[in-house]
Amino acid sequence: MEREELRKVIEGIIFVSDEPVDEKTIQKVLGDSIDLSTIKGILQELQLEYSSPLHGFELVEVAGGYQFRTKKELGAWIRKLEKFQPQRFSRSAMEVLSIIAYKQPVTRAEIEAMRGGIDSSGVLKTLLMKKLIKTSGRKRDAPGRPFTYSTTKKFLEVFGLKDLSDLPPIEEFMKREEETEI
């Protein structure tokens, strides 16, 4: 297949997919004769192309794959469509989610201790319902073998992260104030 044709096919595959598509899925469709580096190269080309101000959406690398998303500057218009339920987060939900993102797998008791003893069961339930977190097992050495929580692929998708290592190291958020002010 010509490279141009390959590009069209890859573009089409990503367009029809509901979830981020990774290079391997594309290779499965195209066949083993097309190597991953060619696919990767084409994906980068497409990313560059859609980043042009002429397009309303762009190709974003997220949750281990590639996905077309509308550009941020279009948000105000798209929200007017009313068919999208806007994503909202409370402060407590964001606190708990942040702790889970960095400390996973983590138990409810550990989360609550880090928040100064605030009961977090309601927030955990909301986050579970939104599928941003999941129970990921049990802590065997703790009394009562409590459940542990981890973030999900949907968490990466919602916050536009490639994977968990895409999160900045926690130390970056721990700098003394004097240092950050300089």
Partner: protein, 251 residues
């Protein structure tokens, strides 16, 4: 009088606010001053008839404890700083608050950026094959009752109708053909009792997941499908027991 009290997510949030407001060094918190301000805040909450969550009280006790330990400390060089644990909790809490801000500053799906709505997962055909609930069966029963022949004269007789028998019949008839319609099954029955027994039998078999009941479209034909064939004997044994249990209960 109107007092605006800032809202805090918890005791750590309040402490961080007090540290920032007073420009205290988080690594060298003047513990008696912060304890005083902390308690003042709780008092003003109380004055406003706001409920003070237990974690705020627990923290107040902890602050007082640290204060006492600071006073009792003899040699500042050798002993561990009583504030140490609180300071590290505060620092990590502050870090997570910043993580939260960082996450909220991202291009968030369905807030800032949007996707093409997902494709329909089910094909059209699959969608009309909805599984039925027991209440749908009841509606169908009403319909059949209406259509049942009304005898011109009636003779009252005590009839023995067995659910177990009906279960056996359904198992038998579905094992020959795998599938049959509900109408076929109840065709030619003579009384309401038989119909009730059939419905109880279907419900029991649904519960045991031996049959599946599906309907193509609203008010359409109800089809009974066999799901498990291999466990027939085991199931029949279970049904016998179920029958015995019922007889015992009615005795």
């Amino acid at each position: 009088m109107k007092i605006n009290l800032p809202f805090f997510e918890g005791p750590l949030d309040l402490l961080l606010y007090l540290i920032k407001k007073n420009e205290f060094d988080i690594f060298d918190i003047p513990i008696s001053r912060i304890t005083q301000e902390y308690l003042e805040y709780l008092v003003s909450m109380e004055k406003l008839n706001m409920e003070i969550a237990t974690e705020f009280i627990v923290m107040a006790a902890k602050l007082l404890q640290i204060k006492v330990m600071m006073l009792l400390r003899e040699n500042e060089e050798d002993e561990e700083d009583p504030r140490q644990e609180l300071v590290s909790t505060l620092i990590s809490y502050q870090a997570f608050k910043e993580v939260a801000d960082f996450l909220l500053s991202r291009e968030i799906l369905n807030r800032d950026v949007f996707l093409k709505p997902p494709l329909k997962k089910k094909t059209e055909e699959e969608e009309i094959w909805t599984e039925l609930s027991p209440s749908d069966l009841m509606l169908l029963m009403k319909d059949i009752l209406k259509r049942m022949k009304k005898p011109s004269f009636q003779e009252i007789e005590i009839e023995k109708v067995s659910v177990v028998e009906k279960i056996k019949l359904i198992i038998e008839r579905t094992s020959e053909r795998q599938t049959m319609s509900f109408e076929e099954l109840v065709e030619g029955i003579s009384s309401l009792m038989h119909l009730i027994a059939f419905i109880l039998a279907i419900l029991e078999l649904m519960r045991l997941q031996i049959i599946k009941v599906v309907q193509m479209r609203p008010f359409g034909k109800i089809m009974i499908y066999r799901t498990e064939k291999k466990f027939e004997e085991e199931v029949l044994k279970g049904i016998e027991e179920y029958g015995e249990r019922r007889t015992q209960e009615s005795n």
